[in-house]
Amino acid sequence: MGRMSRGVSRRSVGHRVRVWPRVRASLAVLTAVALLAGCTPTDDSGPPGPDGPANAVLSVTTIGSRLPSSTRNRLESQVSDVLAAYVVGAFLGDYPRQDFLGGFDRFTSGAAKLAVADIDALTASGFEKVTAVRATRLDARLSFLAPDDRAVGASAWVDFAFDVAQGGSTVKVRLTGRLALGLVDGTWAVFGYSLVRDDSDALPVEVSSS
Protein backbone atom coordinates (compact mmCIF):
# COMPACT_ATOMS: atom_id res chain seq x y z
CA MET A 1 0.00 0.00 0.00
CA GLY A 2 2.15 2.81 -1.22
CA ARG A 3 1.09 5.96 0.45
CA MET A 4 1.24 8.27 -2.53
CA SER A 5 -0.33 5.90 -5.00
CA ARG A 6 -3.20 4.87 -2.79
CA GLY A 7 -4.67 8.21 -1.95
CA VAL A 8 -3.17 8.85 1.43
CA SER A 9 -4.52 11.93 3.08
CA ARG A 10 -1.86 14.59 2.75
CA ARG A 11 -3.41 16.31 5.68
CA SER A 12 -2.60 13.29 7.75
CA VAL A 13 0.82 12.68 6.36
CA GLY A 14 1.97 16.25 6.42
CA HIS A 15 1.35 16.83 10.06
CA ARG A 16 -0.19 15.34 13.07
CA VAL A 17 -3.92 15.54 12.75
CA ARG A 18 -5.39 17.96 15.22
CA VAL A 19 -8.62 16.07 15.51
CA TRP A 20 -9.41 17.51 18.86
CA PRO A 21 -10.62 20.97 17.97
CA ARG A 22 -13.18 19.30 15.73
CA VAL A 23 -14.24 16.82 18.34
CA ARG A 24 -17.76 17.25 19.59
CA ALA A 25 -20.50 15.70 21.59
CA SER A 26 -19.69 13.20 24.26
CA LEU A 27 -18.20 13.87 27.61
CA ALA A 28 -15.53 11.32 26.92
CA VAL A 29 -14.44 13.14 23.84
CA LEU A 30 -14.52 16.48 25.61
CA THR A 31 -12.23 14.93 28.16
CA ALA A 32 -10.03 13.88 25.29
CA VAL A 33 -9.77 17.47 24.20
CA ALA A 34 -8.49 18.46 27.57
CA LEU A 35 -6.09 15.59 27.85
CA LEU A 36 -4.77 15.23 24.38
CA ALA A 37 -4.77 18.62 22.77
CA GLY A 38 -1.45 20.19 22.22
CA CYS A 39 1.84 18.64 21.51
CA THR A 40 3.30 15.99 19.36
CA PRO A 41 4.92 13.09 21.18
CA THR A 42 7.80 14.03 23.38
CA ASP A 43 10.45 11.88 24.95
CA ASP A 44 9.23 9.48 27.55
CA SER A 45 11.52 10.33 30.37
CA GLY A 46 10.10 10.66 33.82
CA PRO A 47 6.75 9.72 35.18
CA PRO A 48 3.74 11.49 33.76
CA GLY A 49 1.92 14.01 35.81
CA PRO A 50 0.04 17.25 35.62
CA ASP A 51 3.27 19.11 35.03
CA GLY A 52 4.93 16.38 32.99
CA PRO A 53 5.15 15.94 29.25
CA ALA A 54 1.93 16.25 27.30
CA ASN A 55 0.05 13.40 25.74
CA ALA A 56 0.70 12.49 22.16
CA VAL A 57 -1.73 13.74 19.56
CA LEU A 58 -3.80 11.19 17.69
CA SER A 59 -2.40 10.81 14.20
CA VAL A 60 -4.81 9.38 11.64
CA THR A 61 -3.93 8.29 8.12
CA THR A 62 -6.26 6.78 5.56
CA ILE A 63 -4.81 4.12 3.30
CA GLY A 64 -6.03 2.73 0.00
CA SER A 65 -8.98 5.05 -0.37
CA ARG A 66 -10.39 6.57 -3.50
CA LEU A 67 -12.89 8.61 -1.58
CA PRO A 68 -13.03 12.35 -2.22
CA SER A 69 -10.82 14.25 0.20
CA SER A 70 -13.77 16.03 1.81
CA THR A 71 -15.45 12.70 2.48
CA ARG A 72 -12.23 11.21 3.72
CA ASN A 73 -11.64 14.12 6.09
CA ARG A 74 -15.13 13.79 7.49
CA LEU A 75 -14.73 10.05 7.98
CA GLU A 76 -11.35 10.46 9.60
CA SER A 77 -12.84 12.93 12.04
CA GLN A 78 -15.74 10.66 12.88
CA VAL A 79 -13.57 7.60 13.40
CA SER A 80 -11.07 9.68 15.37
CA ASP A 81 -13.85 10.55 17.79
CA VAL A 82 -14.45 6.86 18.38
CA LEU A 83 -10.77 6.11 18.85
CA ALA A 84 -10.38 9.06 21.22
CA ALA A 85 -13.30 7.90 23.32
CA TYR A 86 -11.69 4.49 23.63
CA VAL A 87 -8.23 5.83 24.50
CA VAL A 88 -9.55 8.21 27.10
CA GLY A 89 -11.97 5.80 28.70
CA ALA A 90 -9.60 2.85 28.68
CA PHE A 91 -6.27 4.44 29.51
CA LEU A 92 -6.21 8.17 30.11
CA GLY A 93 -8.43 10.19 32.41
CA ASP A 94 -8.07 10.91 36.08
CA TYR A 95 -6.39 8.54 38.50
CA PRO A 96 -6.91 6.81 40.81
CA ARG A 97 -10.02 5.31 39.31
CA GLN A 98 -11.78 1.98 39.13
CA ASP A 99 -14.10 2.47 36.19
CA PHE A 100 -12.70 1.57 32.81
CA LEU A 101 -15.94 0.50 31.16
CA GLY A 102 -16.27 3.97 29.67
CA GLY A 103 -13.65 2.88 27.20
CA PHE A 104 -16.31 0.74 25.55
CA ASP A 105 -18.96 3.45 25.25
CA ARG A 106 -18.48 3.62 21.49
CA PHE A 107 -18.50 -0.17 21.07
CA THR A 108 -21.60 -2.01 19.88
CA SER A 109 -23.38 -3.75 22.72
CA GLY A 110 -22.15 -7.14 21.53
CA ALA A 111 -18.57 -5.96 21.21
CA ALA A 112 -18.71 -4.25 24.62
CA LYS A 113 -19.89 -7.50 26.14
CA LEU A 114 -16.92 -9.31 24.63
CA ALA A 115 -14.56 -6.50 25.60
CA VAL A 116 -15.56 -6.65 29.26
CA ALA A 117 -14.21 -10.20 29.32
CA ASP A 118 -10.93 -8.86 27.91
CA ILE A 119 -10.85 -5.71 30.02
CA ASP A 120 -7.39 -6.33 31.45
CA ALA A 121 -5.91 -6.50 27.96
CA LEU A 122 -7.95 -3.65 26.51
CA THR A 123 -7.63 -1.10 29.32
CA ALA A 124 -5.33 -0.06 32.14
CA SER A 125 -7.60 -1.72 34.68
CA GLY A 126 -5.06 -4.40 35.54
CA PHE A 127 -2.56 -1.98 37.03
CA GLU A 128 -2.62 -1.16 40.72
CA LYS A 129 -1.85 2.15 42.37
CA VAL A 130 -1.70 4.05 39.10
CA THR A 131 -1.10 7.74 39.57
CA ALA A 132 -1.18 8.80 35.93
CA VAL A 133 -1.18 7.50 32.39
CA ARG A 134 0.36 9.41 29.51
CA ALA A 135 0.01 8.62 25.82
CA THR A 136 3.36 8.68 24.05
CA ARG A 137 2.11 7.51 20.67
CA LEU A 138 -1.39 7.46 19.19
CA ASP A 139 -1.15 6.45 15.56
CA ALA A 140 -3.96 4.96 13.52
CA ARG A 141 -4.17 3.93 9.89
CA LEU A 142 -7.68 3.64 8.53
CA SER A 143 -8.93 1.41 5.75
CA PHE A 144 -12.51 2.03 4.72
CA LEU A 145 -15.01 -0.33 3.16
CA ALA A 146 -16.93 1.98 0.86
CA PRO A 147 -19.03 0.23 -1.77
CA ASP A 148 -20.40 2.79 -4.22
CA ASP A 149 -18.36 5.44 -2.37
CA ARG A 150 -20.45 5.04 0.77
CA ALA A 151 -18.36 4.06 3.74
CA VAL A 152 -20.02 1.42 5.91
CA GLY A 153 -17.07 -0.13 7.66
CA ALA A 154 -13.47 0.50 8.54
CA SER A 155 -10.42 -1.04 10.06
CA ALA A 156 -8.34 1.14 12.33
CA TRP A 157 -4.83 -0.27 12.54
CA VAL A 158 -3.63 1.26 15.76
CA ASP A 159 -0.22 1.70 17.32
CA PHE A 160 -0.73 3.22 20.74
CA ALA A 161 1.85 3.57 23.48
CA PHE A 162 1.39 4.70 27.05
CA ASP A 163 3.51 5.38 30.10
CA VAL A 164 1.75 4.15 33.19
CA ALA A 165 3.04 5.69 36.41
CA GLN A 166 2.83 3.35 39.39
CA GLY A 167 4.36 4.75 42.51
CA GLY A 168 7.93 5.53 41.62
CA SER A 169 8.19 3.47 38.47
CA THR A 170 6.84 3.74 34.96
CA VAL A 171 5.47 0.83 32.99
CA LYS A 172 5.40 1.09 29.24
CA VAL A 173 2.32 -0.28 27.52
CA ARG A 174 2.01 -0.74 23.79
CA LEU A 175 -1.24 -1.62 22.09
CA THR A 176 -1.17 -2.64 18.44
CA GLY A 177 -3.56 -4.30 16.08
CA ARG A 178 -6.96 -3.64 14.62
CA LEU A 179 -10.24 -2.17 15.69
CA ALA A 180 -13.12 -2.98 13.35
CA LEU A 181 -15.75 -0.29 13.03
CA GLY A 182 -19.10 -0.06 11.37
CA LEU A 183 -21.56 2.70 10.62
CA VAL A 184 -24.40 1.48 12.83
CA ASP A 185 -27.58 3.56 12.67
CA GLY A 186 -25.62 6.50 11.36
CA THR A 187 -22.95 6.39 14.05
CA TRP A 188 -19.52 4.81 13.91
CA ALA A 189 -19.02 2.12 16.51
CA VAL A 190 -16.42 -0.50 17.24
CA PHE A 191 -17.82 -3.96 16.58
CA GLY A 192 -14.62 -5.92 16.86
CA TYR A 193 -11.04 -5.88 17.98
CA SER A 194 -7.87 -7.87 17.54
CA LEU A 195 -5.25 -6.20 19.68
CA VAL A 196 -1.90 -7.18 21.09
CA ARG A 197 -1.03 -5.61 24.41
CA ASP A 198 2.66 -5.55 25.30
CA ASP A 199 3.65 -4.38 28.78
CA SER A 200 7.35 -3.93 29.39
CA ASP A 201 8.52 -3.17 32.87
CA ALA A 202 12.14 -2.06 32.99
CA LEU A 203 13.53 -3.19 36.30
CA PRO A 204 16.86 -1.65 37.25
CA VAL A 205 19.44 -4.23 38.18
CA GLU A 206 22.91 -3.55 39.49
CA VAL A 207 25.76 -5.71 38.38
CA SER A 208 28.59 -5.53 40.85
CA SER A 209 32.03 -6.28 39.54
CA SER A 210 34.27 -5.34 42.41
Binding site: L114, G153, L195, R197, D199, A202, L203, V205, E206
Partner: protein
Protein backbone atom coordinates in the same frame (compact mmCIF):
# COMPACT_ATOMS: atom_id res chain seq x y z
CA UNK B 1 16.74 -30.00 51.09
CA UNK B 2 19.18 -31.87 48.85
CA UNK B 3 18.48 -29.39 46.08
CA UNK B 4 19.28 -26.47 48.38
CA UNK B 5 22.55 -28.00 49.48
CA UNK B 6 23.40 -28.82 45.90
CA UNK B 7 22.83 -25.23 44.83
CA UNK B 8 25.03 -23.96 47.65
CA UNK B 9 27.76 -26.36 46.67
CA UNK B 10 27.52 -25.22 43.05
CA UNK B 11 27.83 -21.56 44.04
CA UNK B 12 30.86 -22.33 46.23
CA UNK B 13 32.50 -24.22 43.40
CA UNK B 14 32.14 -21.43 40.83
CA UNK B 15 32.83 -18.56 43.26
CA UNK B 16 36.64 -18.62 42.75
CA UNK B 17 36.14 -18.53 39.00
CA UNK B 18 33.81 -15.53 39.28
CA UNK B 19 36.24 -13.70 41.57
CA UNK B 20 39.15 -14.32 39.19
CA UNK B 21 37.13 -13.08 36.24
CA UNK B 22 35.99 -9.95 38.02
CA UNK B 23 39.50 -9.07 39.12
CA UNK B 24 41.01 -9.87 35.75
CA UNK B 25 38.59 -7.78 33.69
CA UNK B 26 40.04 -4.28 33.43
CA UNK B 27 37.83 -1.29 34.03
CA UNK B 28 35.10 -3.30 35.63
CA UNK B 29 32.89 -1.36 37.95
CA UNK B 30 29.37 -1.24 39.25
CA UNK B 31 27.30 -1.02 36.11
CA UNK B 32 23.57 -0.68 36.19
CA UNK B 33 21.71 -2.55 33.58
CA UNK B 34 18.14 -3.59 33.16
CA UNK B 35 16.09 -6.64 32.58
CA UNK B 36 12.98 -6.20 30.51
CA UNK B 37 10.04 -8.21 31.72
CA UNK B 38 7.43 -8.30 29.02
CA UNK B 39 3.87 -9.46 29.18
CA UNK B 40 2.08 -9.93 25.89
CA UNK B 41 -1.63 -10.51 25.63
CA UNK B 42 -3.80 -10.92 22.56
CA UNK B 43 -7.45 -9.98 22.82
CA UNK B 44 -9.85 -10.67 19.99
CA UNK B 45 -13.61 -10.51 19.63
CA UNK B 46 -16.16 -9.56 17.01
CA UNK B 47 -19.82 -8.74 17.29
CA UNK B 48 -21.39 -10.29 14.23
CA UNK B 49 -24.91 -9.42 15.31
CA UNK B 50 -25.65 -12.23 17.74
CA UNK B 51 -24.02 -14.80 19.96
CA UNK B 52 -24.11 -17.31 17.11
CA UNK B 53 -24.79 -16.12 13.59
CA UNK B 54 -26.14 -18.62 11.10
CA UNK B 55 -25.50 -18.12 7.42
CA UNK B 56 -26.85 -20.22 4.58
CA UNK B 57 -24.23 -20.38 1.83
CA UNK B 58 -25.47 -21.49 -1.58
CA UNK B 59 -23.39 -22.19 -4.65
CA UNK B 60 -25.34 -21.70 -7.87
CA UNK B 61 -24.59 -23.45 -11.14
CA UNK B 62 -26.09 -20.61 -13.19
CA UNK B 63 -24.04 -20.22 -16.37
CA UNK B 64 -22.11 -17.00 -17.00
CA UNK B 65 -24.29 -14.20 -18.24
CA UNK B 66 -27.35 -15.28 -16.27
CA UNK B 67 -28.50 -14.31 -12.83
CA UNK B 68 -27.05 -16.57 -10.19
CA UNK B 69 -30.48 -17.00 -8.63
CA UNK B 70 -31.66 -18.66 -11.84
CA UNK B 71 -29.37 -21.63 -11.32
CA UNK B 72 -29.67 -24.73 -9.20
CA UNK B 73 -27.88 -24.42 -5.89
CA UNK B 74 -25.78 -27.55 -5.87
CA UNK B 75 -23.70 -26.43 -2.89
CA UNK B 76 -25.67 -25.91 0.30
CA UNK B 77 -23.93 -25.27 3.60
CA UNK B 78 -25.43 -23.85 6.77
CA UNK B 79 -22.65 -22.15 8.73
CA UNK B 80 -22.80 -21.15 12.37
CA UNK B 81 -20.19 -18.77 13.78
CA UNK B 82 -19.68 -18.00 17.44
CA UNK B 83 -17.20 -15.15 17.30
CA UNK B 84 -17.06 -15.03 21.08
CA UNK B 85 -15.68 -18.54 21.48
CA UNK B 86 -14.14 -18.97 18.04
CA UNK B 87 -16.28 -22.02 17.29
CA UNK B 88 -17.80 -22.66 13.89
CA UNK B 89 -20.15 -25.36 12.64
CA UNK B 90 -21.12 -26.34 9.11
CA UNK B 91 -24.09 -28.51 8.23
CA UNK B 92 -23.86 -29.73 4.67
CA UNK B 93 -27.12 -30.45 2.88
CA UNK B 94 -26.83 -32.57 -0.26
CA UNK B 95 -28.40 -31.00 -3.32
CA UNK B 96 -30.82 -33.90 -3.95
CA UNK B 97 -32.35 -33.68 -0.49
CA UNK B 98 -36.08 -34.08 -0.91
CA UNK B 99 -37.98 -31.36 0.91
CA UNK B 100 -41.25 -29.47 1.02
CA UNK B 101 -41.14 -26.47 -1.28
CA UNK B 102 -44.15 -24.42 -0.39
CA UNK B 103 -46.70 -27.21 -0.61
CA UNK B 104 -44.94 -29.29 -3.25
CA UNK B 105 -42.14 -31.75 -2.74
CA UNK B 106 -38.92 -31.32 -4.63
CA UNK B 107 -35.14 -31.29 -4.45
CA UNK B 108 -33.78 -28.50 -2.33
CA UNK B 109 -31.38 -27.35 -5.01
CA UNK B 110 -34.24 -25.91 -7.09
CA UNK B 111 -35.79 -23.95 -4.23
CA UNK B 112 -34.11 -20.64 -5.00
CA UNK B 113 -34.93 -20.83 -8.71
CA UNK B 114 -38.50 -21.90 -7.97
CA UNK B 115 -38.95 -18.88 -5.72
CA UNK B 116 -37.46 -16.59 -8.39
CA UNK B 117 -34.55 -15.68 -6.18
CA UNK B 118 -36.47 -15.14 -2.96
CA UNK B 119 -34.26 -16.80 -0.35
CA UNK B 120 -37.17 -17.37 2.03
CA UNK B 121 -38.17 -20.67 0.43
CA UNK B 122 -34.76 -22.32 0.66
CA UNK B 123 -34.16 -20.82 4.11
CA UNK B 124 -37.50 -22.26 5.24
CA UNK B 125 -36.66 -25.67 3.81
CA UNK B 126 -33.36 -25.66 5.69
CA UNK B 127 -35.14 -24.61 8.87
CA UNK B 128 -37.52 -27.55 8.44
CA UNK B 129 -34.57 -29.90 8.08
CA UNK B 130 -32.41 -28.80 11.00
CA UNK B 131 -34.52 -26.42 13.06
CA UNK B 132 -32.28 -23.40 12.47
CA UNK B 133 -33.46 -20.34 10.56
CA UNK B 134 -30.48 -18.68 8.92
CA UNK B 135 -29.86 -15.03 9.71
CA UNK B 136 -28.54 -14.43 6.21
CA UNK B 137 -28.48 -16.19 2.87
CA UNK B 138 -25.46 -15.82 0.59
CA UNK B 139 -25.59 -17.04 -3.01
CA UNK B 140 -22.52 -17.19 -5.16
CA UNK B 141 -22.07 -18.24 -8.77
CA UNK B 142 -19.07 -19.68 -10.50
CA UNK B 143 -17.55 -16.37 -11.62
CA UNK B 144 -18.01 -14.65 -8.27
CA UNK B 145 -16.66 -17.70 -6.48
CA UNK B 146 -13.56 -17.81 -8.66
CA UNK B 147 -12.97 -14.08 -8.24
CA UNK B 148 -13.19 -14.33 -4.46
CA UNK B 149 -10.75 -17.24 -4.39
CA UNK B 150 -8.33 -15.35 -6.59
CA UNK B 151 -8.63 -12.25 -4.38
CA UNK B 152 -7.67 -14.46 -1.48
CA UNK B 153 -4.60 -15.60 -3.38
CA UNK B 154 -5.92 -19.09 -4.02
CA UNK B 155 -6.80 -21.67 -1.44
CA UNK B 156 -5.15 -24.76 -0.01
CA UNK B 157 -7.61 -27.59 0.49
CA UNK B 158 -6.89 -30.71 2.48
CA UNK B 159 -8.71 -33.31 0.40
CA UNK B 160 -9.73 -36.43 2.29
CA UNK B 161 -9.40 -38.54 -0.88
CA UNK B 162 -7.58 -38.54 -4.19
CA UNK B 163 -9.68 -38.25 -7.33
CA UNK B 164 -9.85 -36.78 -10.82
CA UNK B 165 -12.29 -33.93 -11.28
CA UNK B 166 -15.34 -34.31 -13.49
CA UNK B 167 -14.83 -31.41 -15.84
CA UNK B 168 -11.20 -30.47 -16.04
CA UNK B 169 -9.67 -33.87 -15.37
CA UNK B 170 -7.56 -32.26 -12.70
CA UNK B 171 -5.96 -34.75 -10.37
CA UNK B 172 -6.59 -34.00 -6.72
CA UNK B 173 -4.20 -35.66 -4.30
CA UNK B 174 -5.14 -36.85 -0.88
CA UNK B 175 -3.93 -34.14 1.46
CA UNK B 176 -3.13 -30.50 0.72
CA UNK B 177 -3.85 -29.12 -2.76
CA UNK B 178 -3.40 -25.47 -3.71
CA UNK B 179 -6.05 -24.22 -6.13
CA UNK B 180 -6.68 -21.00 -7.95
CA UNK B 181 -10.27 -19.90 -8.40
CA UNK B 182 -10.98 -22.03 -11.46
CA UNK B 183 -9.41 -25.13 -9.96
CA UNK B 184 -11.29 -24.64 -6.69
CA UNK B 185 -14.56 -24.49 -8.62
CA UNK B 186 -13.60 -27.68 -10.46
CA UNK B 187 -12.89 -29.35 -7.12
CA UNK B 188 -16.18 -28.13 -5.65
CA UNK B 189 -18.39 -29.24 -8.52
CA UNK B 190 -17.04 -32.78 -8.90
CA UNK B 191 -19.48 -35.52 -7.92
CA UNK B 192 -19.31 -38.32 -10.47
CA UNK B 193 -15.87 -39.31 -9.24
CA UNK B 194 -17.31 -40.69 -6.05
CA UNK B 195 -19.14 -43.96 -5.49
CA UNK B 196 -22.65 -43.97 -4.06
CA UNK B 197 -24.50 -40.69 -3.56
CA UNK B 198 -21.66 -38.51 -4.74
CA UNK B 199 -23.15 -35.45 -3.16
CA UNK B 200 -22.37 -36.68 0.34
CA UNK B 201 -18.67 -36.68 -0.48
CA UNK B 202 -19.03 -33.49 -2.47
CA UNK B 203 -20.68 -31.80 0.48
CA UNK B 204 -17.77 -32.92 2.65
CA UNK B 205 -15.43 -31.49 0.01
CA UNK B 206 -17.27 -28.18 0.21
CA UNK B 207 -16.57 -28.12 3.92
CA UNK B 208 -12.90 -28.91 3.32
CA UNK B 209 -12.88 -26.02 0.86
CA UNK B 210 -14.52 -23.68 3.39
CA UNK B 211 -11.93 -24.64 5.97
CA UNK B 212 -9.20 -23.90 3.44
CA UNK B 213 -10.77 -20.52 2.75
CA UNK B 214 -10.88 -19.80 6.46
CA UNK B 215 -7.21 -20.62 6.81
CA UNK B 216 -6.36 -18.45 3.82
CA UNK B 217 -8.40 -15.55 5.16
CA UNK B 218 -6.68 -15.76 8.52
CA UNK B 219 -3.25 -16.02 6.92
CA UNK B 220 -3.80 -12.60 5.36
CA UNK B 221 -6.07 -10.71 7.71
CA UNK B 222 -3.13 -8.94 9.33
CA UNK B 223 -2.49 -7.05 6.10
CA UNK B 224 -3.84 -3.54 6.13
CA UNK B 225 -6.79 -3.21 3.79
CA UNK B 226 -7.16 -6.93 3.14
CA UNK B 227 -10.43 -7.48 4.98
CA UNK B 228 -11.96 -4.50 3.18
CA UNK B 229 -10.72 -5.79 -0.19
CA UNK B 230 -12.23 -9.20 0.55
CA UNK B 231 -15.50 -7.60 1.58
CA UNK B 232 -15.64 -5.67 -1.67
CA UNK B 233 -14.88 -8.80 -3.69
CA UNK B 234 -17.60 -10.64 -1.78
CA UNK B 235 -20.12 -7.87 -2.42
CA UNK B 236 -19.35 -8.13 -6.13
CA UNK B 237 -19.59 -11.89 -6.24
CA UNK B 238 -22.44 -12.62 -3.88
CA UNK B 239 -26.19 -12.15 -4.02
CA UNK B 240 -27.41 -11.75 -0.47
CA UNK B 241 -30.06 -10.41 1.84
CA UNK B 242 -27.28 -9.20 4.14
CA UNK B 243 -26.34 -5.53 4.06
CA UNK B 244 -22.75 -4.57 3.17
CA UNK B 245 -22.15 -3.89 6.86
CA UNK B 246 -23.63 -7.27 7.83
CA UNK B 247 -21.32 -8.94 5.35
CA UNK B 248 -18.33 -6.97 6.61
CA UNK B 249 -19.10 -7.92 10.20
CA UNK B 250 -19.47 -11.52 9.16
CA UNK B 251 -16.15 -11.51 7.37
CA UNK B 252 -14.48 -10.00 10.41
CA UNK B 253 -16.08 -12.61 12.64
CA UNK B 254 -14.57 -15.31 10.43
CA UNK B 255 -11.11 -13.94 11.17
CA UNK B 256 -11.68 -14.87 14.82
CA UNK B 257 -12.78 -18.45 14.19
CA UNK B 258 -10.40 -21.03 15.53
CA UNK B 259 -9.86 -23.57 12.71
CA UNK B 260 -9.39 -26.24 15.34
CA UNK B 261 -12.90 -25.48 16.57
CA UNK B 262 -14.43 -25.58 13.08
CA UNK B 263 -16.38 -28.76 12.53
CA UNK B 264 -18.61 -29.96 9.71
CA UNK B 265 -21.32 -32.58 9.50
CA UNK B 266 -23.38 -33.77 6.54
CA UNK B 267 -27.11 -34.34 6.69
CA UNK B 268 -27.22 -37.72 5.02
CA UNK B 269 -30.25 -39.77 4.05
CA UNK B 270 -31.55 -42.67 1.98
CA UNK B 271 -31.37 -42.86 -1.78
CA UNK B 272 -34.79 -42.91 -3.34
CA UNK B 273 -36.83 -41.70 -6.29
CA UNK B 274 -39.50 -39.07 -6.59
CA UNK B 275 -42.87 -39.94 -8.22
CA UNK B 276 -41.47 -39.32 -11.70
CA UNK B 277 -38.35 -41.36 -11.15
CA UNK B 278 -35.79 -38.67 -10.39
CA UNK B 279 -33.07 -39.53 -7.95
CA UNK B 280 -33.59 -37.94 -4.54
CA UNK B 281 -32.25 -38.27 -1.02
CA UNK B 282 -34.75 -38.72 1.77
CA UNK B 283 -33.08 -36.83 4.62
CA UNK B 284 -32.54 -38.42 7.99
CA UNK B 285 -34.82 -36.01 9.82
CA UNK B 286 -33.79 -37.27 13.24
CA UNK B 287 -30.15 -36.61 12.42
CA UNK B 288 -31.03 -33.20 10.97
CA UNK B 289 -32.73 -31.99 14.11
CA UNK B 290 -30.08 -33.56 16.31
CA UNK B 291 -27.37 -31.63 14.47
CA UNK B 292 -29.37 -28.42 14.65
CA UNK B 293 -30.23 -28.70 18.32
CA UNK B 294 -26.65 -29.59 19.11
CA UNK B 295 -25.09 -26.63 17.33
CA UNK B 296 -27.69 -23.88 17.41
CA UNK B 297 -26.51 -22.16 20.58
CA UNK B 298 -22.75 -22.64 20.47
CA UNK B 299 -21.77 -23.70 16.92
CA UNK B 300 -20.35 -26.99 18.16
CA UNK B 301 -21.33 -30.61 17.61
CA UNK B 302 -20.97 -32.08 21.07
CA UNK B 303 -22.70 -35.25 19.95
CA UNK B 304 -20.64 -35.64 16.81
CA UNK B 305 -21.96 -36.23 13.30
CA UNK B 306 -23.40 -39.68 13.60
CA UNK B 307 -24.55 -40.76 10.18
CA UNK B 308 -22.32 -38.36 8.27
CA UNK B 309 -19.72 -39.82 5.92
Amino acid sequence: MRRALGLTGWVLRILPVVVVLLVAVPGSAVRPTSIALTTVQHAEGYDAGGDVVWVLVLGSDAPPGTSIVEGDTDAIQLLGIDAGTGAAAAIGIPRDTYVDLGGEKGRINVALRTAKGDPALVAGAVADLVGISPDFVLVTGGQGFEAMIDTLGGVTVDSPVAFDTDDGGMHVVKGPNHFDGEQALDFATTRRAFAGPGDFVRSANHQALLLGLLNQLQARDDREGFVEAMALASLDGIDTDASPLDLYRLLNALTAVDPDQAKGCILVGEESQDPVGNFVVLPDSVLGHQLGEDAVDDATFDQGCEGSP
